[in-house]
């Protein structure tokens, strides 16, 4: 398969992720969408790394995966702490602060 195919798939997945972040209201789903964006990036890194014959891109993917896991940990901890105080995590209901 040509490189372009990988990059197009990656761009499509990334766009789906961005749309998900913008239109979904549940923080858990938003996290999944962000995960989708990160994995789209990983896909292009791996594809580019293979076609450029350079290992840097694959190194980047390992680190992105690790950091993404840590990011979710922080996020889930906050969701738990919000759920304890108000038993509802819908971001539309979070209107104590106006945007």
């Amino acid at each position: 398969m040509p490189l372009t195919a990988y990059l197009i798939v990656s761009a499509v997945i990334f766009t789906i992720g961005v749309i998900g972040v913008l239109i979904r209201r549940n923080p858990l789903i938003i996290f999944m969408s962000i995960e989708l964006m990160l994995n789209a990036v990983n896909l292009s890194f791996v594809a580019l790394s293979h076609f450029l014959d350079s290992v840097d891109g694959q190194m980047f993917v390992f680190l992105v995966l690790t950091v993404a896991a840590a990011e979710v940990v922080v996020g889930l901890a906050l969701i738990v702490s919000i759920f304890r105080t108000r038993h509802n995590i819908d971001v539309d209901e979070m209107n104590v602060l106006r945007g």
Binding site: L7, F14, G17, V18, V21, P27, I30, F31, I34, M37, L38, A40, V41, S44, F45, L48, L52, S54, D56, G57, M59, F60, L63, V64, V67, A70, E71, V74, G75, L78, I79, S81, I82, T85, R86, V91, M94, V96, L97, R98, G99
Partner: protein, 497 residues
């Protein structure tokens, strides 16, 4: 190649990590706030000492750890700025922590780790380590925003911060992926070398530029990526807000300028890059200043004011890029002005925020009208806060005036007169809203008559910040002498080859 001497170049960061770990362990054994704060403050002497030693014995830019670490005048300048932030934050947060947050140790540890990330963001020359440093900066900030666990506002702010921060780093990463695909390397000098051969009109270069600017746009809270700032500034504990407003922004600019200038992105498709950044700068200036003028909550006003300040810095960056292909020495004057502006902004904003922390602690309110007549109740605090606000507004003779003048003259000389005119008009608007607070504090009738006595740590912080501001006003030329070579060192790697 790895050599033992490389560790010396990384010593400020290593010693800061060790300090954070020591503070964490001490927090396990004693819960006394004074011990933890003293250890943090005294421990900061070690990284400061290393940075001073490196600056004094400086002989030229050095790279280490496979060119991931770059120690040049630029990174030394920013390391100093971040250590100043750390020291001020320890002092400024001391009382607030005791009153509202029952997690002093955690606050200091998170703050120190975040400062390590900021220092690394300024001193890495490689995309992977920039990303790691960026996340090392951000994660502690997310946690700090949510430290007021009983307050729904605080955890809401923290969650919004995590979601938007994660999304922005994903966007930034996509830009990095395109950059890697275009050049085949993650090393900024390698990227700069291969950008030399790129012509104009390469769509992928433009997309990568836009994605990188968008990714950093969140960190520096530039319009249209600023939506998070007012909410998070209002919800987070006030010392954390002060930290976001200076640390996150300075670090974001450090890395953005490093990538754009040191990474040589200006060598290809300069016009679209300037247009995109210029539009972002104008929007940031206009929206930041006008929205700040209509706020009633002082923390929200400071949020919009810090958005507006990012606009002035962007004007300097755009000006540098305009001239970058023609004359490196002239172009670096824009970055020098930016460095000076960031230093003054950091000191001033920390001063203004410590004033606000103190005054709102004492009056128990965060509305601007709560500050009525404070001149009669706490003269020292009011005068210091007013000086900081005047400096933010850019009124002579305070340092903030010089920093704006430098940015505007640099931008004018480098060929961006329209940006300067817009920025000037916007800073006239800014006098209105900074002036309104000063007017409320000095001329309105106080609500109560009794005197307010600020806790010693806060009055020390704000006095120190104001003193630093006045000293900066006097030693403008000395700082510029340090900023000019720092700015030029970004171009040095390209000129050398």
């Amino acid at each position: 190649m790895f050599q033992l001497s490389d560790l010396y170049l990384l010593a400020p960061e290593i010693s800061l990590v060790l300090l954070a770990l020591v503070v964490m362990v001490i927090d396990l054994f004693t819960k006394r706030r004074i011990v933890i704060a003293t250890v943090s403050l005294v421990g900061l002497i070690v990284p400061v000492g290393f940075v001073i030693a490196q600056a004094v014995t400086y002989t030229g830019p050095r790279t280490a750890l496979f060119r991931m670490l770059v120690v040049d005048q630029y990174s030394l300048f920013f390391r100093v700025i971040f250590l100043i932030i750390a020291a001020f934050m320890v002092l400024a947060s001391y009382n607030y922590l005791g009153k509202y947050i029952k997690a002093e140790g955690e606050f200091y540890v998170l703050m120190l780790f975040s400062v390590v990330g900021m220092m690394l963001m300024a001193s890495t020359g490689e995309l992977i380590s920039i990303y790691i440093a960026l996340e090392l900066t951000s994660f502690p900030l997310y946690a700090m925003a949510g430290l007021l666990r009983s307050s729904t506002k605080s955890s809401e702010a923290a969650l919004k911060y995590v979601l938007l921060g994660a999304m922005s780093s994903a966007i930034l990463l996509y830009g990095f992926a395109l950059l890697y695909g275009l050049t085949g390397t993650t090393d900024l000098q390698g990227i700069a070398q291969s950008f030399k051969s790129f012509g104009n009109g390469n769509l992928m270069v433009i997309v990568a530029d836009v994605l990188i600017i968008a990714g950093f746009g969140f960190k520096i809270s530039a319009v249209p990526f600023h939506m998070w700032a007012p909410d998070i500034y209002e919800g987070a504990p006030t010392p954390a807000t002060a930290f976001f407003s200076v640390g996150s922004k300075a670090a974001g600019f450090a890395a953005l300028i490093r990538i754009l200038v040191y990474g040589g992105l200006w060598q290809a498709d300069l016009t679209p890059l300037i247009v995109v950044l210029g539009v972002v700068a104008v929007l940031t200036l206009i929206l930041g200043n006008f929205a700040a003028a209509v706020q009633t909550n002082i923390k929200r006003m400071m949020a919009y004011s810090s958005i507006a300040q990012a606009g002035y810095i962007l004007v300097g960056v755009v000006a540098t890029l305009t001239m970058s292909q023609k004359n490196h020495t002239a172009a670096s004057s824009g970055i020098a002005a930016v460095l000076f502006f960031i230093l003054v902004y950091v000191v001033t904003n920390l001063g203004a925020f410590s004033g606000i922390i103190a005054l709102s602690n004492l009056t128990g309110g965060e509305k601007i009208e709560d500050f009525r007549g404070l001149w009669h109740r706490s003269p020292l605090l009011t005068v210091c806060t007013s000086l900081c606000l005047l400096s933010l507004a850019g009124i002579p003779p305070v340092a903030g005036f010089f920093s704006k003048v430098f940015i505007f003259t640099a931008a004018w000389q480098l060929g961006q007169p329209w940006l300067v005119i817009i920025a000037l008009l916007c800073s006239i608007v800014s006098i209105v809203y900074y002036g309104r607070i000063i007017k409320v504090m000095f001329f309105d009738a106080p609500r109560k008559e009794e005197r307010l006595v600020a806790p010693i740590s806060l009055s020390t912080t704000i006095t120190l910040a104001t003193a630093a501001l006045l000293v900066l006003t006097v030693i403008v030329t000395v700082v510029l002498d340090a900023a000019n070579p720092a700015a030029l060192s970004l171009f040095a790697s390209l000129l050398g080859k």
